[in-house]
Every structure is written in structure tokens, then in C-alpha cells.
Symmetry: C2
Amino acid sequence: MKEFKIPEATVSRLSVYSRYLTEVEKQHIVSISSGEIAEGMGGTPAQVRKDLAYFGEFGTRGVGYNVKQLNQEIKNILGLSKKWNMILIGAGNLGSALSQYHGFRERGFEIKGIFDNDLNKVGLMLNGLPIYPINEMADYIEANGISIAIIAVPGDYAQDVADILVETPIKGILNFAPVVLTVPDEVEVRNVDLSVNLEVLSYNIENNLDTMPEEE
Amino acid sequence: MKEFKIPEATVSRLSVYSRYLTEVEKQHIVSISSGEIAEGMGGTPAQVRKDLAYFGEFGTRGVGYNVKQLNQEIKNILGLSKKWNMILIGAGNLGSALSQYHGFRERGFEIKGIFDNDLNKVGLMLNGLPIYPINEMADYIEANGISIAIIAVPGDYAQDVADILVETPIKGILNFAPVVLTVPDEVEVRNVDLSVNLEVLSYNIENNLDTMPEEE
DNA sequence: GACTGTGAAGCCATTCACAGCT
DNA sequence: AGCTGTGAATGGCTTCACAGTC
């Protein structure tokens, strides 16, 4: 009664496929092959087909995939056919940037309210959204059907915020704080770790992958 | 004359280990075991040991690792013993937030200049950094020994910016634009994809991993 | 006794190669 | 002929389990 064991890498790629297909759709292209999708997002045709095959047979042999229909299927798979209500915790620089990021709304994710523990900020508006005090957060989540929280507070506070969140019906956390959060299994956490990304970049540059002159 | 084939996942974890060890160092703890490190960052002891073993024998059997020394080793491995000069392209919300993000400097990554194609912004200062026009970017990179560029421009411009960058001595790009960049192999790209992260979260919530009631 | 370092085993993901439609 | 869907083969990463060292 349930699909099974999809590689996380596949799920990430589906998201990229969908974004690419949305672009292709705008150009009114009707049909697309796995090779063209791969080309458009830096992968291989076989991988595109494998990824899609986990979920069903969306294509037509000898022809390819219907762009619009495939995009819709992928969005359904990813759970994007519904709207997601989110809150943002942290009205600092990063929070401010995130509150204004259009990419979220375009994909069905909407920030409904912002929370901060700085009483100078509470009551102000940030990009059209009210800033509330943290102690109202739990009630707000309950009352407004919020299922995802974005943590954009300094590292030292992130676990405190998470501790409050896990007592609410929140289902997922997108964490921008550079710390590993401890939460119960039923809350899903994704970390966006800016420094880690730079450090991997640093390592790869220093050990120049792909770059080395051919040598026997 | 060269270490070999380190899993990328290992490199990412090294970065997390180092951040954690930096915290532990502050508490003046001298020695730490693989189990304690694993505990502190959500992994397993065996994995911590395996990751470290790719690069050498840093521990003492029966005892553990010297915190300070291990952290130094990891930083060396990651290429953090030198300072990295970066530029930021895009002085919008996200760029503004990134220019102020302290986590970068703490780890040896410094933004030296900001570039934008909006002439109303050029000449202004953003968090103590001057904003230059894009057409000065290539010269600036050459003149200031910049090796990493952070792209924080809208998706439609990101490839244009990348096209300019690849003609310069830039070695790595941290890309925040929600597009797949096409660059030659010798330039290393890392994508920080905000929507992809939310969409994986969405998928995981909908298919609640870990959460399902036990069933035979 | 405690904890590291590591080959071997097991698991997961990607790639290959081809059968099956259109 | 063209392109999908997929079992089988490969490759890579993680976990196990234990020998080695303090």
C-alpha cells in the first residue's frame, strides 16, 4: 500500500527535473526525451529514466515524455500539489533574505509569519509579514496549520528553537544554523550548511578533481 | 604522490567534525573519542574512524584523539590552513545576508568585494564592502587573488555571470541561483539549492520516513 | 579495559545493455 | 529508427567485527 525505498539522491534530482521542466514548459515544448532532460540539468539519460521508473511509467517508448504531464507527476510525487504553510524563525539578515525569496512561493511554500526573540523587532513588519515573539510560536503553529519551520537564528539558539518546535505539530525543519539539531525521529530536518559547502569546495579545489593533467 | 578517491560524503562530514571540534576546544576538553564525536554530530563511531583513516592515523588506541590536534589536521585536509579570498556577485537580499554572514570569516573565507549590475547600487557600501559594476569583475579577480565566487543573482543571470567567471582564474563557485550552471571541468561548482531542500523535506514528510507505526 | 585502525561483508546507487513499444 | 523501462553488472559507501595498541 506504499511505494518503497527511494534513494534520497533520486528525490533531490526529481526536484531539479521539475524546475527544469517548468522552464521548458514556458517555451511551449510539448515532448522531451530523457536525454534532453539529462542535458538540461547535468545528468545521464539512464539516470533520468531510472529515477522516474521508481514511480511509474510516465513516458512513451520511441517518443519521450509529455513535458506538462511529467512535471505534474513529479510535483505530485514530491508533495507539491498541496500548499505548504511555513514560519520563519529569525528576523536577522538571513531571515530577511529568506522572507523575500520568491523561489519558495513559486513552488508552493509560503511563509505565513516570522518569529524573533528581539523585542525591538517584534511588532514590526518584514516584507509584508508580521514579526511575532517566540513565546507565541507554538500557539501560532497550531492555529494556522503550519507544517514547516525555517530556522535562521544564530547557532547558539537553534537547538532551543528546535526544542520548542518539536512540541508542536510541526513536521519538518529547514535549518540554516550551523549546528546539528537533535530532534525526535518524527520531525524531519534538512540542513542548509553554508560553511560546509564552502569547505567541500575548498577541499576539491586544493585536490583538483577532474583537473589533473593526464598521467599514466 | 597523492591521496586518493575520498568519498564526497566524507569530506562534508570532516567539515562538520571540525566545526564540532572547534566548539569542544572552547570548553578546553583535551581528548575525545570517535563515539563522542559521533554523538556530537549525529553519526556513528565507525564512520568517524573510517573518515579520518582515509587521511592518516590521528588517534591513539585506547585513548582517543587530541581535540586541538585533530581539528588542526582536519582543517589542513580541507584546505583551511590558508585564507580564501572571495567575491560576491549580487547585492540583493540574499547577497546582503551573505555579505554579513560571520560563519565564513570564522572559517577562513573572506568576501573582498561585491559586484552588481544595478548601477544604483554600484558605488554604495554593503556591510563595509564596496559594490563594483560587473564589468570590473574580471580585472578585480586577477588583481586581488580571488579564488572563489559566490553567485547570488537571480536565476536568469546566473549563467551569464558564470560565463564571465570561467574566463578568469577563479577556481570555485558557490551558486545560490536555482539553475544548473554549465562550466568547464576545471572550475568547481557547489550548488546551495533552497527549493530543492524544501522539496525533499516535503517528500519525506508526505511519505513519512521513520515515522510509520510498526507493521509486519 | 578502552578505543583506534582496517579488511571484509553488506548495502545502496549508478551505469550498462538490451528487450519492448510506438 | 527512436526512445523508454528494467534486470543485471558494477562501483562506491557504510557497517561490522576484530586485531592491534596504549
